[in-house]
């Protein structure tokens, strides 16, 4: 009697134990596919357009149709750039050949190249350089060497309400005057941008800094040209804008989506944001905004020209890939094939990098404005220490523009960090 009870318990225990073991030892099915020799390339890219049905997916299918020996499939990464980077770094650090092509944000080139994770593309430079925009090409270089093929780019617009503003302003001071005046009349906010404490804030700050004539490094990032006076001027401008009401309420907690929400529900007069908002405002904005807004280049402090921070994605070949030749062909193809670049522009409002596509599509208002501002867009420096520099700028300038620190001291501290980055 007791024997059978014990036996029953043993059977259950053994069964449970073997189930656990079986689950733990099952190899994950992904590991075996796409490995060396199979000919299939893996493209690690994230964002909305990498999902099934997105434009990157269609481009991958196009390549696979034209190259049945070396098809490519997308490994979908998360939406947020920081999380995409984490996933890619995780794989690259371990030396795995899991990813062949990397969809990299433009600011990671320096870091990835510095860590030896990328295959140099110097031998295909001549195929890419003449076809693509200069700014985008610059973001794929680090230390003078080419590490990636530009894929798509991004520059920012000034969105404004045409029913409240006749002429888009050409200087920041003009913008603030209009913002406070019109905002006060209509009881809405002035300018909304990205002022929350993250990389997007550094982008906004850089646009003020660059438009005041400031520089960060020389051409090959060997010398620091960060100017503390210009930096102080930019930060003080932001501080005044916060206090005077030029910045809409919620500026200092807004990322791209919060800014878009505020503008498209009619709560602000101006918005600084990326081109992706254009179509979304038309589709989702309240009628009085959707029918009464337009885009313009960002103003500067002097009124001459314009400036914008360069965003976008570059495709790079992993140094650990077991299929480097095919991967190289793919990245060059994606950069320099008119059909592919046109797909980005027309199907997804993603700014392409091929100059010829801009000429073709100049009747589209977004493409026309992009053609105007992209030559004036500046990339963030492609140094391996960019994350540290960006983090320091956030730590110093964010409290300063919120009235919680001295702009001049903040500029000094950032200058020190830049100096440290060229020391070795």
């Amino acid at each position: 009697m007791r024997r059978t009870k014990d036996l029953g318990k043993w059977i259950i225990a053994t069964a449970a134990g073997s189930l656990v073991l079986a689950a733990a030892c099952t190899p994950s099915s992904d590991d075996d596919e796409g490995e060396s020799g199979g000919g299939e390339l893996v493209w690690a890219i994230g964002g909305a357009e990498a999902q099934p049905g997105g434009v990157h997916e269609r481009i991958a299918q196009l390549w696979s149709e034209e190259n049945p020996d070396t098809p490519i499939r997308i490994e979908v990464l998360p939406d947020e750039a920081d999380l995409q980077r984490e996933q890619q770094v995780h794989v690259l650090q371990s030396g795995s050949d899991e990813f062949d092509v990397l969809g990299m944000d433009v600011i990671w080139t320096g870091e990835y190249a510095g860590n030896g994770w990328l295959e140099s593309l110097e031998d295909v430079r001549d195929q890419i350089e003449p076809e693509v925009l200069e700014g985008a090409f610059g973001s794929a270089e680090s230390g003078g060497e080419l590490w990636a093929a530009p894929y798509n780019t991004n520059a920012s617009f000034l969105y404004y309400r045409t029913d409240l503003v006749d002429q888009p302003p050409e200087t920041w001071q003009e913008l603030c005057d209009i913002a406070t005046q019109v905002g006060g009349q209509e009881d809405i906010g002035g300018l909304i941008g990205q002022g929350s404490k993250y990389e997007g804030f550094v982008v906004n700050w850089l646009e003020y800094y660059w438009s005041a004539g400031g520089e960060l490094y020389n051409d090959d990032q060997s010398e620091v040209e960060f100017d503390t006076e210009t930096a102080t001027q930019a930060t003080e401008f932001m501080q005044e804008a916060m206090e005077s009401g030029c910045y809409a309420p919620g500026f200092n907690t807004a990322t791209e989506e919060e800014a878009r929400n505020a503008f498209q529900t009619g709560k602000t007069v101006f918005m600084r944001n990326w081109p992706y908002c254009y179509q979304l405002i038309k589709d989702e904005g309240v009628p009085e905004v959707a029918n009464n807004f337009d885009i313009a280049p960002l103003p500067t402090f002097t009124g001459d020209g314009t400036i914008s921070a360069l965003g976008g994605f570059n495709n790079a070949v992993s140094a650990h890939s077991s299929n480097k030749d095919a991967a190289k062909e793919f990245v060059v193809w994606a950069s320099t094939t008119p059909e592919v670049q046109r797909m980005l522009a027309t199907q997804a409002s993603v700014p392409p990098v091929m100059t010829s596509v801009y000429d073709e599509l100049k009747s589209d208002p977004e493409m026309a404005l992009l053609a105007q501002i992209l030559p004036e867009s500046k990339p963030r420096p492609a140094v391996p220490e960019w994350n540290t520099l960006s983090d320091t700028m956030q730590d110093e300038f964010f409290p300063a523009y919120n009235g919680d620190g001295d702009p001049a001291d903040a500029a000094e501290a950032v200058r020190e960090e830049f100096d440290a980055s060229v020391e070795d």
Partner: protein
């Protein structure tokens, strides 16, 4: 007891009460527990020890540069960011645990009463606890943020920038944490309340004690083990808080917690030596707090060795 022992061990087993010669029951118990302890040591202790080893090395970015001794620790302890995050983490822990305890105790006393709709009330009180923290944090962000301004609309506050003002943003984070975890404290305290026999209250009532006296002299002392367990759990977890401030503010306005600083040096601006040093320091702090609580609990929680 000993008569039902399986005789798989060596040594003659004398039929009779008490111990058998050979392997005693205590030793046998230790033997059976050893594999589990070894496994837990491997899984739990190894990362801690490895982190300590890594913290003794110098790195530039991700490149290993050589042995660094305690340099990483001096660097960490001189870092302003570390001290600021320590201050915020302590303030957060003390404030939120105190508030959670007070509110949780109130809920527990309420749930312990018998009234109509008690089941529904209990379920409703538990809802915040079951929502994943990240989702709750995102939800509170949307509600408190000026755009779209749900809280402002509800309270008629116009454009009050909850998340953009230095003092208020901390209050908002603490509020979100208390909202989420007070139910957990309530659960633990409710379990403790239900172990208190009702006849004690009866005799106290007969003796003329009012509600407040009954609460102070009967409930609280008898609830002591449950209170200490709840405080231990919540304090240790609050010291490790990461997702709530990360999602709601990204660390702005000095709301960066210890874990956020560690994560930054491990992932965003990688320096494995410094990150591991910060991680080890965090571990030591939390271990210290945990040990204090456990010693306060004393013998209250250990099950009687000889069945007393």
């Amino acid at each position: 007891m000993a008569g039902t022992q399986a005789t798989a061990d060596t040594g003659a087993l004398r039929a009779g009460p008490g111990r058998s010669r050979g392997v005693s029951e205590t030793a046998l118990g230790r033997l059976f527990v050893t594999p589990a302890i070894l496994l837990m040591a491997a899984v739990a202790l190894f990362p801690v020890i490895y982190a300590f080893v890594v913290s003794l090395r110098a790195y530039t970015g991700r490149q290993y540069e050589g042995f660094a001794g305690l340099d990483n620790y001096t660097e960490a302890l001189q870092d302003d960011e570390f001290w600021a995050s320590l201050e915020f983490t302590f303030v957060f822990t003390v404030t939120s645990v105190a508030a959670e305890f007070a509110i949780g105790l109130g809920f527990a006393l309420l749930m312990n009463q018998a009234f109509r709709g008690r089941g529904v009330t209990r379920a409703a009180i538990l809802v915040p606890w079951v929502i994943p923290t990240v989702i709750a944090a995102q939800m509170w962000f949307f509600m408190f943020n000026v755009n779209p301004g749900s809280v402002n609309a509800l309270l008629g506050l116009g454009d009050f920038n909850w998340l953009g003002e230095a003092g208020w943003v901390k209050a908002v984070i603490i509020f979100a944490d208390v909202w989420k975890t007070a139910p957990f404290v309530a659960l633990l305290l409710l379990a403790g309340l239900q172990t208190i026999p009702t006849d004690i209250y009866e005799s106290a009532r007969v003796d003329g004690a009012n509600a407040l006296q009954r609460f102070w002299h009967i409930t609280l002392p008898l609830l002591r083990p449950a209170i200490l367990v709840a405080l231990l759990f919540r304090t240790v977890e609050a010291l490790r808080v990461y997702d709530l401030p990360q999602v709601m503010t990204g660390g702005a306005f000095e709301t960066e917690s210890l874990s956020m600083v560690v994560q930054q040096y491990v992932v965003l601006t990688p320096d494995p030596g410094l990150g591991s040093a910060l991680s080890t320091i965090t571990f030591v702090i939390i271990l210290g707090v945990g040990v204090i609580f456990v010693s306060l609990l004393g013998r209250e929680l250990t099950i009687g060795r000889t069945g007393r």
